[in-house]
Subunit: 190 residues, 2 copies
DNA sequence: GTCTATAGGGCGATAGAC
DNA sequence: GTCTATCGCCCTATAGAC
C-alpha cells in the first residue's frame, strides 16, 4: 500500500481544471486546489512554479515538433519541414474533451490567456535552432515559424470545433488557404 | 500653482522604465515606482490596473491600424488592406530610443513578455471586425491577421536594429519574403 | 513547514478646484 | 454643495525565502 496517493501532479491538474471551470480562475485559490487534491498549498508549489502553470504542464508538443523538424527530409524547404512536423502534432494531443474544457477556461481568464501565448512563443523559439540546423538564418527562421504558428492556430481551432476532421487535413487546408491569400489564384484581368 | 505635479501617469511610466532597467522588473516594487514619481502605491493603481501595465499604456496603435484598415481602398483584398495599414504604423511609434529601452526591459522579464504578447493578441482581435466590414469571415480574418502579425514582427525587429530603414520599406520587404517562402520562385525542375 | 514581502482589491477620508 | 485626485488602512493570496 503506497504511503501517498499516487499521481499528485495529475490530481492537482484535474482539481484545478474542475475548480477553474466552476468558480473561475481568479476566485480559486491555490490552497483550495491543493485541498481538493489532498495536498497542502506548499506541496502545490513543489509541482508547479506558479498557479497558472497547473494548466500548462508537459512539454511533449515542443519536443515532438523539434524532433519531427530535425527528422524531416533534408531536401524539404523550411516551410515544408515545419508543415510535415505540424501535421503529426495530434499524436501528442490530449483528448478533445480535455482540450475543449481547457481552452474554455483559458479564454475566460486573462492571466491564463497570457500564459498560453507565451507557451506558444516558447515553442516558436525552440524551433529556431531546429531550422538553423537546416541552414536557415535565425531571423528568417523565426518569421517562417511565426507564419506556421498562425497556420497552426487556424488548424487547431477547426480541429476543436469539428470532431470528425483529421488534423493533418486541416493543416493542409490552412496551408492551401495561406497560398491563396498570399498569391490569389485569379490573375488580374484588365 | 497646481496642487499636484501634472502628468502623474507619465511620471509613473518614466520612473518605472528607469527602475526596471537598473534593478530589473522583479526586484522593483510598485511602492518604489510610486515613490520615485512622488506618489503613493495606492495612487499607482488608480492609473494602472497592475504593475505590468505601466509599460503598456496607450492604445494608439490599435486605433491607428483599425482606422487605416477601414479607410483602405475597398477594392483591396484583406492582406493588402492590412499591409497598407501596417505600412504607416510608424506614425504612432514612440522614439526608437524609448522603444529600444522598452524592448530590452520586456525581453528580460517573463511577466512583461507575457503582457507584451497579449497586447499583440488584442490588436489581432481588434482587427477581426475591421476585416469583417470588408466581408471577410472571422476565422479567415483572424488567420490573415495572424500572418500579418508575423510579418509585422519581422519588420519591427529589423526597424529596431536598423536606424536608417524606413518602416514601410521593411513591411514591403517582409511581404516579399512571405511570398517567396509560400511560393518559391524556382519552379520544380525535374 | 513556517515566515514574510509584495500584489492588488475594497472602501472611506481628505482637500483643493469649480 | 459636487467633482476629482490623492492618500490611508484594511484585507487576502501569491510566491519566494528560510
Amino acid at each position: 500500500m503506497p504511503r501517498w496517493e499516487s499521481d499528485a501532479q495529475g490530481r492537482l491538474e484535474r482539481a484545478a481544471l474542475e475548480l477553474f471551470e466552476t468558480q473561475g480562475y481568479e476566485r480559486t485559490s491555490v490552497a483550495q486546489i491543493a485541498r481538493a487534491a489532498g495536498l497542502t498549498e506548499r506541496s502545490f508549489y513543489r509541482y508547479f512554479p506558479d498557479k497558472r502553470e497547473v494548466l500548462f504542464a508537459g512539454h511533449e508538443l515542443v519536443a515532438h515538433l523539434v524532433g519531427r523538424v530535425e527528422a524531416a527530409d533534408p531536401g524539404l524547404g523550411p516551410l515544408e519541414a515545419l508543415l510535415t512536423a505540424l501535421s503529426t502534432a495530434d499524436e501528442v494531443f490530449r483528448s478533445r474533451e480535455f482540450l475543449l474544457r481547457r481552452v474554455k477556461v483559458i479564454a475566460d481568464s486573462p492571466a491564463l490567456a497570457e500564459r498560453d501565448l507565451i507557451k506558444l512563443a516558447d515553442i516558436a523559439e525552440a524551433l529556431v535552432p531546429a531550422l538553423g540546423r537546416r541552414g536557415v538564418e535565425p531571423g528568417t527562421a523565426r518569421f517562417i515559424i511565426d507564419v506556421v504558428m498562425a497556420l497552426s492556430r487556424r488548424a487547431t481551432s477547426r480541429w476543436l470545433a469539428d470532431p470528425d476532421a483529421a488534423f493533418s487535413e486541416l493543416v493542409a487546408q490552412a496551408a492551401a488557404e495561406l497560398r491563396e491569400v498570399v498569391a490569389p489564384p485569379a490573375p488580374p484581368v484588365r
